[in-house]
């Protein structure tokens, strides 16, 4: 059966009950669809802090259950965890008690093929560091391990929950290039949750804009090559123009959101 879509969210809402018993609506009526053509692309969820991006990504990953609505993975319901979708959290999540090679083997489970492990280590630029532990290493180093571990599962979709937030600008530049090339080479779709407009504009093929209280998607911007040509702008001008446009869209939606 050919899948019509990679993932489809229909009317997804999420409530949390606070300590005082009051319900808080974190996400409301989220509809989102990624098609097979989105494989190799990066789709961003852009919003300020606290608008439910992480919750939405965890729902897609199957780590949280929606209060209402459905999440479909291909033609299947994605009620259970499914390692066709890999979630990469904001904080470094490579296991510090395992070295680089062991971290990747953790994802491979029974398969103990050294060539597979080597392929992913080479892919993320960690050749020669196989026996190094991530403990006390840079955020970039730890992210590379997490990415290699995710690739080892051969997922269709990788969810990036703002993992670049704490990285230095130099590290970000390297990692952005790596993430883009990995997505293209392995034909994997990625959803990036971010509160950095520049990051979203630089990396994404499509940006969903979210506002908070409750978290909703209020706009989407296509960033494909045709759209760019139609605008007739140079790369740098296009970047600035898009950032300004996004800021205006947030402002007109009543969101106080400034570009980084």
């Amino acid at each position: 059966m050919v899948d019509k879509f990679l993932i489809k969210l229909e009317n997804v809402s999420k409530d949390f009950t606070g300590t005082a018993g009051a319900k808080r609506n974190v996400l409301e009526d989220i509809n989102l669809e990624l098609l097979p053509e989105d494989s190799g692309n990066i789709i961003s969820l852009l919003s300020s802090f606290g608008s439910g991006k992480s919750t939405l990504l965890k729902i897609i990953a199957g780590l949280e259950k929606p209060s209402e609505g459905t999440v479909l993975l291909g033609h299947k319901f994605s009620k259970e965890r499914n390692n066709e979708i890999i979630y990469i959290p904001e904080k470094p999540s490579s296991f510090p008690w395992l070295n680089v090679e062991e971290n990747i083997k953790f994802a491979l489970k029974e398969v103990n093929n050294k060539n597979i492990v080597k392929e992913f280590i080479d892919m993320v630029g960690l050749s020669g560091y196989e026996n190094h532990h991530p403990n006390n290493k840079s955020l970039g180093f730890r992210f590379r391990i997490t990415l290699a571990r995710a690739l080892a599962v051969q997922p269709k979709l990788i969810l990036l929950d703002d993992p670049f937030k704490r990285m230095s600008n130099e590290t970000k530049d390297e990692i952005y290039g790596l993430v883009k090339s990995v997505g293209k080479n392995y034909n994997i779709a990625m959803i990036l949750g971010t509160s950095n407009i520049s990051e979203a504009v630089y990396l994404s093929n499509r940006i969903y804009l979210m506002k908070k209280n409750p978290g909703i998607i209020f706009n989407a911007i296509e960033m494909n090559a045709e759209t760019m040509k139609e605008r007739g702008l140079s790369r740098h001008d296009r970047f600035i123009s898009l950032k300004n446009e996004i800021e205006k869209l947030f402002s007109s939606a009543g969101e106080n959101f400034h570009s980084q």
Partner: protein
């Protein structure tokens, strides 16, 4: 600018200063007193300890009682960690209730009951120390479960790991550095309990030497065993720290 203190070095200096003070004060200035023994008499008393107080067998008895019970408790916890980690069970609730009692009852009170129930058992000290160590480790592990780093759990679940794998290969590993720190504290606590238990019960162990030394008013024997116990606790702590740096080096 405030400089970070090197507490280890300053502790060694304090020990050295106290040692010199003891030698100068009690060897030359106050050789006859009932506060602390004369250093040269302490030196001579080691041979008496060996023959009259059976130091070697008593020392081995205390040492094996403490460390065998500690390691058995640790490895039993490692084997059964998925059982305690997976959530609330009757056993974990029961052990949790012991935590509540332990806030009000000193551990040695339980030891007194053990002595009362099994006055002639050779293994009762080991059982008492094992129960104390295991209960303490279980209570500590359960307290750590409330403060886990979710990024590791989310990643493992997302990678398709099942719950026993997550318990053994993620949660248990995640809390290892803190468990080792807890074992460091437990080490000193078990020494206090073991010596108190042996002093009360008698029969074997360094506590039995303390009991006899108190009975015969033998200050030099009392002080010598105090030194031996202190040096052993110090060496054991150093070994546990070494093991932590070797096997639980992450933070």
């Amino acid at each position: 600018m405030i400089k970070k203190k090197n507490s280890n070095n300053s502790s060694y200096i304090y020990v050295l200063v106290y040692f010199i003070l003891w030698v100068v004060l009690f060897e030359f200035i106050l050789p006859v007193n009932s506060i602390l023994p004369k250093p040269s008499i302490v030196y001579q008393s080691f041979s008496d300890l060996w023959t009259d107080y059976h130091l070697f067998s008593n020392y081995l008895s205390t040492l094996s009682g403490i460390y065998i019970s500690l390691f058995v408790a640790y490895f039993l916890m490692q084997i059964s960690c998925s059982f305690f980690i997976k959530g609330k069970t009757f056993l974990s609730d029961f052990i949790g209730s012991l935590n509540w009692f332990s806030k009000f009852l000193p551990g040695i009170v339980i030891g007194l009951l053990f002595i009362f129930w099994f006055p002639n058992s050779e293994y009762i000290e080991f059982i008492f120390l094992f129960v104390t160590a295991f209960t303490s480790i279980v209570i500590f592990v359960e307290s750590q479960l409330e403060d886990l780093q979710m990024e590791y759990l989310d990643s493992a679940r997302s990678l398709g790991a099942d719950e026993p794998t997550i318990s053994k290969q993620v949660v248990w590993k995640m809390i290892q550095p803190k468990i080792f720190l807890h074992i460091l504290e437990l080490n000193t606590y078990l020494w206090s309990l073991a010596i108190a238990f042996e002093t009360i019960k008698g029969g074997s162990g360094l506590g039995d030497i303390f009991r006899l030394a108190l009975k015969y008013r033998d200050l030099s024997a009392l002080f010598s065993v105090f030194l031996i116990a202190g040096i052993t606790v110090f060496i054991a702590k150093s070994i546990i720290k070494f093991l932590k740096n070797k096997f639980a080096f992450w933070s």
